[in-house]
């Protein structure tokens, strides 16, 4: 472990390299381009390759292809490019492909404000593409978090054979902070489970007890089938309700069952509070000093930071919020996580206090947003 000074985007790049990234596909887009540029310089010395493709659609599909050839793959983009990747994410879900997709949120909709951050893409990160599925979404709030959550994103992708969305934003992407980076061997790096049976007995989509099928890749003699249509355990197209039900149930359940591993939240003074503020990402960065200032004045306020935006461990979240008389959700949008928290904690005591800004949230505006409800 050693101390470094990096930007959010560079931290993601460095953590990806540590996790074993060998293939990066991308397309220039503010504020994610510098992540690709940094990797383009560094990744070849680790035996990896960075390719700028003709568009984001090619990027996500190439990343998925590379994953099927047996390497860890990633792409990073922002709102407009993320929207283009929708079908690709759907393909990764259906084919159970480990791949990491970074969305560095900016102001939208459409071209929006490319250089400034909001928290608009929460639901898109969860449900970008068509289809009935659940994928993990992580939201860092610091450069250290970018680093740690990237390692976690790759591990979750490999462990559960799923695309993972890492939801950063334009503020965090380009801010510079000190962080601790890991040396190889210091943290657990998870690789996809491989088959334990010979090719004649292998069924590409037959799950293990954890609902995740072991993943043979191209070139190993297993004659794998990557199938975008609804399929049975052999990967053969099936159009009947039984197969569909089983496939959809398993794809969702394998993630939900892993919520204990996937979900993380951070609690500050929550056990001792009448009101708890819930926030994530760059908004949370300003909620923390606001809550701390209020506590210093004697207010019994707590702060719960969501590190994982999906799936939510509703039981854990509820327990953390159960003692508070008020739950105040502060986010930089017109209400996303607020709707989940209101449902889980109860809408009678949950209040939505947006801080809508394209500049890094100011202390006074966040203080006003919190204090208004106290």
């Amino acid at each position: 472990m050693r101390r470094e000074f990096l930007s959010g985007n560079r931290a993601i790049a460095e953590a990806a390299i540590l996790s074993g990234l060998k293939f990066y596909a991308g397309y220039p887009i503010t504020p994610a381009s510098d992540l690709m540029e940094y990797l383009a310089e560094k990744l070849p010395s680790y035996g990896g390759i960075v390719v700028q493709f003709e568009d984001e659609i090619a990027s996500i599909n190439a990343a998925i292809g590379a994953s099927w050839a047996g390497v860890k793959a990633m792409t990073a983009t922002s709102g407009p490019g993320f929207s283009l990747m929708a079908e690709g994410v759907s393909l990764a879900v259906a084919t159970e492909t480990p791949v990491v997709v970074v969305d560095i949120m900016r102001a939208g909709p459409s071209t929006g404000i490319p250089t400034k951050a909001t928290q608009s893409d929460v639901y898109q990160a969860r449900w970008l593409a068509h289809g009935d599925y659940t994928i993990p979404v992580f939201a860092p709030w610091s450069v250290q978090d970018c680093y740690d959550m990237t390692i976690k994103s790759f591990n979750v992708a490999e462990k559960f054979r799923t695309p993972v969305v890492l939801l950063s934003d334009a503020n965090i992407a380009h801010m510079w902070e000190t962080l601790y980076v890991r040396e190889p061997g210091e943290v657990e790096i998870i690789e996809r489970k491989k088959p334990s049976v010979p090719p004649e007995e292998y069924r590409p989509y037959q799950p293990g007890l954890d609902l995740v099928p072991p993943m043979a890749v191209f070139g190993e003699g297993y004659k794998v089938i990557v199938e975008s249509l609804v399929h049975d355990e052999l990967g053969y197209y099936r159009q009947d309700s039984g197969t569909y039900r089983e496939m959809i149930a398993r794809l969702n359940e394998k993630i939900r069952r892993g919520v204990g591993y996937i979900y993380e939240q951070e609690e500050y003074w929550v056990e001792d509070s009448d009101a708890v503020v819930v926030a994530y990402g760059s908004t949370a960065r300003m909620v923390y000093p606001v809550v701390k200032a209020l506590r210093q004045k004697g207010a019994r306020v707590g702060f719960l930071r969501l590190k994982t935006l999906w799936p939510l461990d509703e039981e854990r979240l509820w327990r953390a919020l159960s003692r508070a008389g008020k739950v105040i959700v502060v986010e930089n949008n017109t209400g996303r996580v607020y709707l989940d928290v209101a449902r889980i904690a109860g809408s009678a005591r949950t209040f939505f206090s947006p801080v809508i800004t394209v500049d890094p949230p100011k202390f006074n505006e966040v203080m006003e947003a919190v204090a208004r409800w106290l």
């Binding site: 090619a58 599909n61 190439a62 292809g65 050839a69 390497v71 070139g219 053969y236």
Partner: protein, 275 residues
């Protein structure tokens, strides 16, 4: 599939025989193209030039794309138009794989057009087979980029107002190492060109003109498989060194098949020094 595989036909060893008979219509040329390709692959495997476990078929969506169902190799049935970028990721991640993309003219040159363009420009190390039937058959007969002018399709019921795209000409104008056209009416060329392409580096493109009696044949009044086959055969002319100026597909003037471009420009793998 734990049971021993049924093998009768000499190519059955490369087919998932438990999925036969395949879904293609009576008289559809895709099976002919696939058979010819498999014969070429078989020859290369027997000559020790190709590892059977390294062959990967990547397809998009459409009738031609269903090839990935039936081949007993690693295969991927991916998104409509996106087989080429998927295949690019596969090849770059593991350059020892022999990656073959198969798709229809709509999949490869319509929705996939931009990817085709850039893969050819890069001279990406892929072998792409585009099976042209001039229509979107899987979805019922809509306009395709190659549909000739004035032809009826379900989305141009008053006649196609768009001049067609000459995909061979497009790819030949880019940086591809191999651009050829064949027809299912003379399958030997499909086999020859596949054999040759599999021994080359860079972007290798083969257009295979095919019969589609059920859909395109119906649109142009050639519903009977043998009739459509014979009408196509009449118009196909092989030339040993065709020039691009004669590559336009013209149902009146004829369709020239042959190897339009054969060269050895540095491939993308050469340029990134990777395999």
């Amino acid at each position: 599939m734990a049971l021993a595989k049924l093998t009768l036909h000499p190519l059955d060893k490369y087919l998932r025989t438990d999925r036969l008979p395949h879904i293609w219509c009576p008289g559809c040329g895709i099976g002919i193209a696939l058979g010819a390709m498999l014969r070429a692959i078989d020859r290369r495997i027997n000559e020790g030039k190709l590892d059977r476990n390294k062959v990967v078929f990547v397809t998009g969506i459409g009738c031609s794309a269903r090839v990935s169902f039936y081949v007993d190799f690693d295969s991927a049935h991916t998104l409509h138009g996106r087989a080429i970028p998927f295949a690019t990721g596969v090849k770059l991640a593991n350059p020892s794989l022999e990656v073959i993309v198969v798709g229809g003219d709509g999949d490869i040159a319509g929705i996939g057009g931009n990817h085709l363009l850039h893969a050819a420009k890069r001279n990406m190390d892929l072998f792409v087979v585009m099976i042209t039937n001039f229509v979107y058959a899987m979805t019922g007969g809509q306009l395709a980029p190659t549909t000739p002018l004035k032809v009826y399709t379900t989305t141009t019921p008053h006649g196609n107002p768009e001049p067609p795209l000459n995909v061979v000409k497009l790819v030949a104008s880019l940086n591809a190492n191999y651009v050829a056209r064949a027809s299912i009416t003379t399958p030997h060329y499909i086999e020859m060109f596949t054999y040759k392409a599999l021994g080359m580096r860079g972007f290798r493109f083969l257009e295979v003109i095919s019969t589609c009696p059920e859909v395109y044949g119906r649109h142009i009044g050639l519903r009977n498989p043998v009739t459509m086959f014979e009408e196509l055969k009449k118009r196909v002319k092989y030339k040993p060194n065709p020039v691009i100026d004669e590559s336009d597909i013209d149902w009146e003037k004829g369709i020239v098949i042959g190897e339009y471009v054969v060269r050895n420009n540095p491939s993308y793998l050469d340029l990134v020094k990777r395999g």
